[in-house]
């Protein structure tokens, strides 16, 4: 007779008699020894695991408590009353502001405006012995016209020529004098 799987029979054969009782006693005593031999490791496990778990819980609590409240979304008037509320896709339309809605900045920016000086205040200087007289605009100053100027020197050869628009040169030849007039 040959069994295909004699293992079960072999096991039952060696479990006969008081072996079962011996086995149970041995299991209990070995387990007691195991408990005695491993308290340190269990304590070590507890020593590391429990504080770690506490730290994780504390960190989660901190994260939860320090998390800023979500800002409520600004309620805006729909631009288009025809927009159905059931739409799940938010549609945004823009419209130009009216003039009265424009926001003016506070008066912190000062505007600098430059204006050209009036012609009478422009002073040109030359390296000549000239007397520059500044007159306020509107002040009437006695002046001569060309004919009156020429009439002042009836007996001397003089010469008056316009060298540029608005600029004339007057020559008094006998005394070798030279002057500019406008």
């Amino acid at each position: 007779m040959r069994f295909s799987k004699p293992g079960k029979l072999l096991n039952d054969v060696f479990r006969e008699g008081d072996y079962q009782k011996f086995r149970e006693d041995l299991a209990a005593s070995a387990l007691a020894e195991f408990r005695q031999a491993h308290p340190k490791q269990r304590q070590q496990f507890a020593k590391w695991f429990l504080p770690l778990a506490a730290m994780v819980v504390f960190a989660l609590f901190l994260k939860w408590s320090l998390k800023p409240d979500p800002q409520p979304l600004a309620q805006t008037e729909p631009f288009s009353p025809a927009l159905p509320k059931e739409d799940k896709v938010a549609m945004v339309q823009t419209a130009p502001l009216r003039v009265e809605q424009w926001v003016q900045p506070a008066g912190t920016v000062s505007e600098v405006v430059t204006k050209p000086l009036p012609d009478g205040l422009v002073v040109e200087s030359f390296s000549k012995n000239l007397v520059i007289v500044s007159t306020p605009p509107g002040l009437r100053v006695p002046s001569l016209n060309d004919s009156e100027l020429l009439a002042m020197f009836p007996s001397q050869p003089i010469f008056l020529a316009e060298v540029a628009p608005g600029r004339k040169v007057f020559w008094l030849l006998e005394q070798s004098r030279e002057g500019d007039s406008q």
Partner: protein
């Protein structure tokens, strides 16, 4: 989730995951002092180690129990981490073998004969199940045919005690008693065969 089934040796062995992986997990759990891991370890290896000791001691049951006890207590106090079933069993069988060698040296006062046996044992295979199976097989063949049929019905055909009792026109209790006597007989016969090869 742990799933166990009785394997062909009758031990509880894991299925669904590889045995090596199971051993690796078990070993890791033992390292951190997990009591349920030690119970699993005991259930998986106590009987196998006992049979190993029976063969090692050549049928000396009392000594086998002592060796099993020593080995299990040693395991409870601490064992290395294993990554495979083979390495775990090699370590376990070595613990039992060293216990037996120590016993031989104590008993024989370090005689030449004891040292020779010790040296021989150190190089022996860890697999004692094969030798035990062969002893069982040869014992089975020596049984009367009626007893062979009973064993065949229960262990090969896997019939229930009730079914066998119906076939034999007897009661399940009578079948159970008969089986019990038969197993004791087999056990004694196997022990005798092992003792026949004993050196001490």
């Amino acid at each position: 989730m742990r799933i166990f089934r009785a394997n062909d040796i009758g031990e509880l062995a894991p299925i669904g995951i590889e045995r090596d992986r199971w051993v690796e997990c078990l070993s890791a759990r033992l390292q951190i002092g997990d009591e349920s891991a030690f119970r699993d370890f005991f259930e998986a290896y106590a009987d196998r180690l006992f049979r190993f000791c029976i063969v090692l001691t050549r049928g000396n049951e009392d000594l086998s129990r002592d060796l099993l006890q020593q080995s299990m207590i040693k395991c409870a106090r601490g064992m290395p981490r294993f990554s495979s079933e083979r390495s775990l069993w090699a370590w376990l069988s070595k613990v039992a073998r060293n216990g037996y060698i120590d016993h031989l040296r104590r008993e024989s006062g370090r005689s030449f004969q004891a040292e020779w046996v010790a040296t021989t044992l150190e190089t022996e295979s860890d697999d004692k199940e094969t030798e035990l199976m062969e002893a069982l097989q040869s014992t089975l063949e020596e049984l009367p045919s009626e007893e062979q049929r009973l064993l065949n019905a229960i262990y090969e055909q896997r019939l229930s005690h009730k079914k066998v009792a119906e076939l034999a026109n007897t009661t399940p209790k009578a079948v159970e008693n008969k089986l019990c006597r038969l197993r004791s007989k087999l056990r004694q016969a196997i022990m005798n065969k092992l003792k026949a090869y004993a050196i001490f």
